[in-house]
């Protein structure tokens, strides 16, 4: 239990730092804006209280907003995916439901499940974030394309991160 809490706190801090230092500074153009930090919300244990998940999402989002000067946009998008997470988990639930100790990892639930789960929620997050940021529908298709391209990039980065974290002896 304590190990899980510590691992998650460390993961949250590490991915926030990764996001605001390395990924933000890469500046890959306006279409490629991965927000890898969603992993620290989505990788929380499956059986964790959904209210807590939402609080964590809110504060992580606010911290990202602080660094990006986007006041509230990342918080809104993160809270939104925390709200959608239980439903998405239900949709992709394996036959017979989740094991009580299941974690949203490749080891635990397989590659297909991982891609669908993280991909869906990353897309929802990026859609809300990019439309909030544009604050208009006049560039509808550009914004849509940005959200799709960027969330695909985010999902790939999440898969890489999950693979790297697998070697962690704590898991």
């Amino acid at each position: 239990m304590i190990v899980t809490v510590v691992v998650n706190i460390i993961r949250i801090l590490v991915f926030i730092l990764l996001q605001v230092t390395i990924i933000k500074q890469l500046d890959l153009g306006s279409y490629l804006n991965p927000f890898l930090y969603v992993i620290c919300i989505l990788a929380l244990p499956i059986n964790m209280n959904k209210g807590w998940v939402m609080f964590i999402a809110f504060f992580v989002g606010l911290i990202i907003d602080m660094f990006y000067n986007t006041m509230g946009m990342n918080a809104a998008a993160s809270v939104f995916i925390a709200y959608c997470r239980p439903a998405v988990l239900r949709i992709y639930a394996p036959q017979g439901g989740y094991e009580p100790t299941a974690n949203p990892t490749i080891q635990s639930l397989g590659l297909n499940w991982t891609i669908s789960y993280y991909g869906t929620l990353a897309l929802l997050h990026h859609l809300l974030l990019f439309f909030l940021e544009a604050l208009t529908f006049s560039y509808f298709f550009e914004t849509l394309a940005k959200a799709i391209v960027s969330s695909a990039a985010t999902t790939v980065l999440i898969l890489i991160s999950l693979l790297l974290m697998q070697k962690n002896p704590l898991k």
Partner: protein, 283 residues
């Protein structure tokens, strides 16, 4: 009473969602972009310090380019000083009349380093390593050796946040250097890339040609007159209006920007209070 408790218990997740989302969107839609990031922005001590630490590690990359730019600026300033001493000749092209003997000095320049910068978003900001204690205030203009960069929108003791020209809320008064015809410079994500911005509302009577220089107009209190903005690349008439929209190639390379100056207008208060009094009398 029991009914209400039961309702909250059953719907707590949706209610919590509604409450947190309301908070978040409240910050998004407060329509004042000065102070817009009032509580959460990168002039915050934590965010500023993280950027400063990061910059301390990676800041050595790209120094060659930054040095070259600063050396070129020094050369230009030396030339200008030479002319100023003789009490003749206007300042070198593209650089403001900011001091010396022939001009009244009423702009102060504070040097600053860019700790964090973005160019990929619809609203781009920079974080600078100067703040209140260095005399930086909201609403001050920011320029680099190459030209106009942005406007300070938020400050803390040691850091400040700059709304860059690459921000859809950033509007600056700019003019054609040769004729003085002025309009509003605005960046439009989706229409212009990070090397271009639009200069709106230039009268159709103007004779335009590619390569014309665009500089600041000096009509606002934010920027001095004649700071380089960019050059005219193309223009097109606005349908059913007697205006041109000019596509300006910006002189500043925002992706590699490192050193900038924050400009303090020493006569800003005098000018704005005089203007306000005038408007009051007219009412």
């Amino acid at each position: 009473m029991y009914g209400i408790l039961e309702f909250f218990k059953r719907n707590y997740f949706s209610l919590l969602f509604a409450a947190l989302e309301f908070f978040s969107l409240y910050f998004v839609f407060r329509d004042n972009y000065y102070h817009q990031a009032g509580y959460f922005n990168s002039s915050d001590a934590v965010a500023g310090s993280v950027y400063k630490a990061y910059n301390g590690i990676t800041g050595y990359f790209g120094l060659a380019g930054a040095n070259e730019e600063l050396a070129a600026e020094n050369a230009r300033l030396h030339t200008e000083l030479l002319h100023a001493d003789k009490g003749s000749a206007p300042p070198a092209p593209g650089f403001p009349a900011h001091g010396g003997n022939t001009y009244n000095r009423y702009f102060d320049y504070t040097p600053a380093e860019v700790l964090d910068n973005s160019t990929a978003r619809p609203d781009n900001f920079m974080t600078l390593d100067v703040g209140n204690e260095d005399g930086v205030r909201e609403g001050m203009g920011v320029v680099s050796p190459a030209g106009i960069v942005g406007i300070v929108v938020n400050t803390s003791a040691h850091f400040s946040v700059v709304m860059s020209i690459l921000n859809k809320n950033c509007k600056v008064s700019a003019m054609l250097k040769k004729s003085g015809a002025f309009g509003t410079l605005n960046w439009k994500p989706g229409e212009t890339d990070i090397h271009h911005a639009l200069l709106l509302q230039i009268p159709m009577s103007e004779q335009l040609k590619p390569g014309d220089t665009i500089v600041t107009s000096g009509y606002s209190t934010i920027f001095p007159k004649d700071i380089m903005v960019g050059v005219l690349e193309s223009y097109k008439p606005v349908p059913e209006q007697y205006f041109y929209t000019i596509n300006v190639k910006l002189s500043v390379k925002f992706k590699s920007i490192r050193y900038v100056y924050v400009i303090k207008n020493l006569r800003k208060e005098e000018k704005t209070s005089l203007e306000q009094n005038t408007y009051k009398e007219e009412e």
